[in-house]
Symmetry: D2
Subunit: 298 residues, 4 copies
């Protein structure tokens, strides 16, 4: 099993991190899943989103079951818009829910203010500004009671695009290795995985060879099914399937730690032939994460 001497090419990303709570765990999860949706990494649409983890009642500011969400976008303006939109569409309408900021204070670059957004305006003057557990929150009446939304949400300058590639002898072995990796990486704090089920089948390259104007196209060097049609295929003999595992996080150290944990886990699975990473030759991303370096981390 080879670990290629290469690097992941990551990018800075604006990231918000917040908590949705509800009367019961299943309603908190329904809300979190709705907000996570349309959050897979891609070059269009409402940015990235991922559920970080379950939050216990003991940890929660309103002593109810909850989930930590992270939402990200490379553009500040877009992040600000979609952070509010995800809460507006995923928290406000969902039975018994509330939402609180969960960004560690020391990581806050700036705050998104809820005032004058469709969340605060929803209250139509019936909303009140109250204090809960030391937080300033809007208490907004809705048909099933009150929805509490913190007045501002912290945004960090985090990292997107941490990743590695799993090259397997079959689809089953690559997929199982990716699942094992994703389960392990979920335990690393301050990171989130934007993909549906945590795994990406559609690796991309920047731009296109044939479709010059495309923003991103299939990562043909890593497509085993067309390796005979691709000039510089990177598919070794015996490899029939590749999956990519992405990881975003609030800081580089957390992303590196998650990558390390994930790669270690993936390599315990039979049929994995090689680990590599997605990059654009270092031309695009500002943050290079060499696999060799992170595997030496403590």
């Amino acid at each position: 099993m080879e670990i290629e001497d290469t690097f992941a090419e990551a990018f800075p990303m604006y990231i918000g991190r917040y908590l949705v709570t509800a009367s019961t765990r299943r309603w908190a999860l329904a809300s979190a899943q709705e907000m996570k949706g349309l959050g897979v990494s891609a070059t269009l649409g409402p940015g990235e989103a991922g559920i970080e983890r379950e939050v216990t009642i003991e940890e929660s500011p309103d002593h109810r079951p909850g989930y930590l969400l992270n939402v990200g976008h490379r553009e500040k303006k877009e992040l600000n818009y979609w952070l509010i939109a995800r809460i507006r569409k995923g928290v406000l309408p969902t039975p018994t829910t509330s939402a609180f900021d969960a960004m560690p204070k020391e990581m806050v670059q700036y705050y998104v203010d809820v005032k004058d957004t469709p969340i605060q305006l929803f209250g139509d003057g019936y909303e009140e500004l109250v204090e809960r557990e030391g937080r300033a929150v809007y208490k907004i009446p809705r048909m099933d009671g009150f929805c509490y939304i913190e007045t501002r949400f912290g945004v960090a300058r985090g990292i997107a695009g941490g990743n590695f590639l799993i090259l397997g002898e079959s689809q089953g072995s690559a997929l199982m290795a990716a699942e094992v990796a994703v389960d392990a990486m979920k335990e690393v704090p301050y990171t989130f995985n934007p993909c549906a089920g945590g795994i990406a089948a559609s690796g991309t390259k920047v731009g296109g060879r044939r479709y010059k104007d495309a923003v991103a196209t299939t990562n043909d060097p890593y497509c085993p099914t067309i390796k005979d049609r691709v000039e510089e295929s990177k598919i070794p003999r015996g490899v029939n399937c590749v999956y990519e595992v992405f990881i975003n996080g609030l800081d580089l150290t957390s992303v590196e730690k998650a990558m390390k944990v994930g790669i270690r886990a993936a390599t315990t699975v039979g049929g994995v032939k090689k680990i590599s990473a997605g990059n654009y030759g270092g031309n695009l991303g500002k943050i290079l994460i060499p696999l060799a370096k992170i595997l030496e981390m403590h």
Copy 2:
């Protein structure tokens, strides 16, 4: 238990209906949930979306497990954009998936063409146009094999905003009645429920009383917690919680049938005091659905 002599006020909506399949049911579901996300009814963002139902292997064009998705928007241009975006973000990246049109031929108003969208361009010239079970599909190489995406997706002129309100003596009774209704309505073909978990806590009115420029604000006449502050509260004595169940569909008959099934189911649950419906006095919507009429339907 009273059923108010009122009507739901619905709207025409452009709706696409398609099928995502995968090697296993759980990957088809992961993809469907990702695409359903950010699809709750609201006045901002990427429109509405809902999972209609599970599709058996026997029904499926590629003989794999699948789920039927419906996506909708009041604006044609927006629908066309987000239909492609949901497939681009929810199907293309997800392990082993493919997507096929599922709009009944007789309901098609027009087709959204996949050509020259980020889906077809993703292939970067490696994609092929092939035929599968009488359908024209793009066979697009990605790292785990090929993703098959039909070349066009039919759009119907459907109905949004079918709804009814459940007024309960407690949050628990209103919520249970709404859950019972949502389970029953899922069996009505050609309809979908855009809400997270199927239930809306945040009923809205058009515009605002105090915030004049707001597009939509809380439906204060139906908020029990502020009934003493609202001039024209519609909350009867003994009601402490209200939930709204929305239903969209490809045609009016299906929406009416789902509403009927849902109301009948809700009224079997203890503690439900009244059924009403959300409307704007008939000023806004073009389609009025009287509760009395649909409850007489066969």
Copy 3:
């Protein structure tokens, strides 16, 4: 990919088939999962059990969401005991549930009577015998209302031990093939899969080589990790993992159909090297199911 010219060795089994319903689908599922538990094929304990499928409200005798359960045992007396015990422990205590017989009339060999069992006696004289949709049912008071349990449950002389083995080059490929097979087999009526997640890792042989008194021990010829220590290993070169998929059913035709559907599905998955079947040389089971025969079935 080779399909070995061998046969599954199956056995007659007493099987009960019934329906649990509840106010909401999730409570019906909670009940069904509780009753399915401790139902994996084994030589000890409370026999076998499996969820066949979801039942729609339209199909259900009390117009509520439900699930079809099958429970089986080779011994009639044991089946009679555990059928009642599973309903007593899984239906009666679970919120809002009821249970109805679902055995097709033409397959009934005999009925298990609920009279004088801990289910009927639970009513302590407050239970009533009533009629619902042409069925005789006990209406038993419990703290959340009434639980309806049909007065008798039909038992068929069905088939257990239909099976096939998937030999894969890696754990991931064998597991994926088994999952694909299990998803496909779920659509075959009158069959159920007793394994947790549908897949068995612990194939058995009758008795033991070294532990002579053991009832069943590891199927060492099919354990790749010890192939060098086993005299008559059946593990071909390149195979590193084997999973077994079991299927029980109300009649032989249904079991054969499910096996065919499952094998066909499994062989679409990359990395599967061989399909075989578990048997005991024809010495034990009374029903031999040749793989060659079922793959020729229409």
Copy 4:
């Protein structure tokens, strides 16, 4: 909202606590659910069982995702039998699983030895005794690799039958309160809930009024639907539904803490009229838990 001045009547129970791990979290969960099955409190069958909580990879002895199971029985011999049977039927056959003792050393009363049980004998002499992270474990070959099972499982003298009753004005409010309580109680260590979905609809009394020989029959004083037929009904005006929440645990303090947490959570839900507890007048159980006392606990 009244909390009745009464007590729960609990019993000593032999309890085993162990961990199932698997390559992925979903296979660990499939195994845990299978083992939890047929584990609802009742006077017949294989005793009680419950999933305590998820275990992280970091905590787990084999660095894989896992779940903590608790199994209990009032009779030592029965506990010993069913502890082994649940592992034999739920762990050994399930893909990629292993099982380890998780009983805190200071609570161990005695150990159940795996030697000469159907688990060790399954190995048929191919099993090896090895050491993993300071534990003595059997390394048992099965078709997908090795299954690791610790050589002995600690048993505590714990507590069963901790409970409280929720009397609600409707089924929905009582059920919601019970769900809120169950979610909260899940966070209390060393406790487990044996009911399907955590909630019991079928409260029992010891013996029967009319059916004198019955072991346990419906708790008729707490059945609202028959209150007019019951001489000493305990149903206050306005109560239409009762649910019971049971809790078992390794020691009395943990059970009391869980009861306190659960009662506090339940009473936050609208429509709850009264909290009581199930007891048999103190004649049967050896452990009386007064509600007043536990609500004063820190």
